[in-house]
């Protein structure tokens, strides 16, 4: 009777990684940060319609609202990808080599929040600059020379 145990009632314990096993790339954060930068630029460049044309005002409000909504969403996604790299990919041995790692990630996450709240071209650019630093740090840990590029340029 002891040969066969009913495993159906066993609870499950995880023995895996939190992310897609071993697959990380700062490109995810870069793409979202680029969207935030472009949307910030579009919001700042958007011209308010002159006169009382109701249709033109509706179209303006609609476009502005869409830009804002997508910027909010993309800034949150950028933060998510930055946090995943920070907490799941980077390990204590990386911290020894890059002592400012925590400061860089902390400031980058905060910049994502700033870009979500504000319409600041400077902060959106700063966010991209920080993600470039993360990109360089990340690929250096893998001893790979991966060129930084922007999809929007």
């Amino acid at each position: 009777m002891f040969d066969r145990l009913d495993k159906m009632n066993f609870e499950t314990a995880e023995a895996h990684c939190d992310g897609p096993c071993g697959v990380y790339d700062p490109a995810q954060a870069r793409i979202e940060a680029e969207s935030v930068f472009m949307l910030t630029k579009k919001i700042l460049d958007l011209k308010r319609p002159e006169g009382d044309d109701a249709k033109a005002h509706a179209a303006y409000q609609n476009t502005l609202t869409r830009f804002i909504a997508i910027k909010e969403e993309r800034a949150e996604l950028a933060k998510h990808h930055v946090l995943v790299l920070w907490t799941d990919y980077f390990k204590p041995e990386h911290l020894e080599k890059y002592p400012d790692l925590h400061t860089l990630f902390w400031k980058t996450a905060k910049l994502c929040s700033s870009c979500k709240q504000e319409v600041s071209r400077e902060h959106a650019q700063e966010l991209l600059d920080n993600i470039k630093k993360i990109h360089e740090m990340f690929w250096a840990t893998k001893n790979k020379d991966v060129e930084w590029y922007l999809a929007s340029q």
């Binding site: 002891f2 145990l5 009632n9 023995a15 096993c21 071993g22």
Partner: protein
């Protein structure tokens, strides 16, 4: 592999039926080659722990998620560093830090066929 887990013998099976062992199914590959996805193990919740033991623990950040890892180090302040045998596919104390003894639920005593 160091600290290879034994197969469950009749004594462990009787202890399970007496309620002295808990059964747990393994999900994932972080404990390869010691344990693979789908393996079943028995846990002794009353056992003491030492470095090298495979243990069941509460995930420090995910409520109600339990993890199976090996004790890599026990610090002077009784914090346990847990690691997966398959480091490339493991989220462990390298990312979530050492965990207190109170979060370790039991020691894996054997693997079930």
């Amino acid at each position: 592999m160091e600290n290879e887990l034994p197969e469950a013998g009749w004594k462990e099976r009787i202890l399970f039926f007496l309620g002295k062992r808990t059964g747990v199914l393994v999900e994932g590959n972080s404990m390869l080659p010691t344990l693979k996805d789908g393996d079943a193990v028995l846990i002794n919740k009353k056992a003491g722990f030492e470095t090298g033991d495979v243990v069941l623990a509460n995930h420090p950040f995910k409520q109600s998620v339990k993890i199976l890892k090996r004790i890599g180090e026990i610090s002077a302040d009784n914090k346990f560093s847990l690691t997966g045998d398959n480091a490339d596919e493991s989220s462990d104390s390298r990312s979530f830090g050492a965990i207190p003894k109170s979060e370790i639920l039991g020691k894996v005593t054997c693997r079930l066929k």
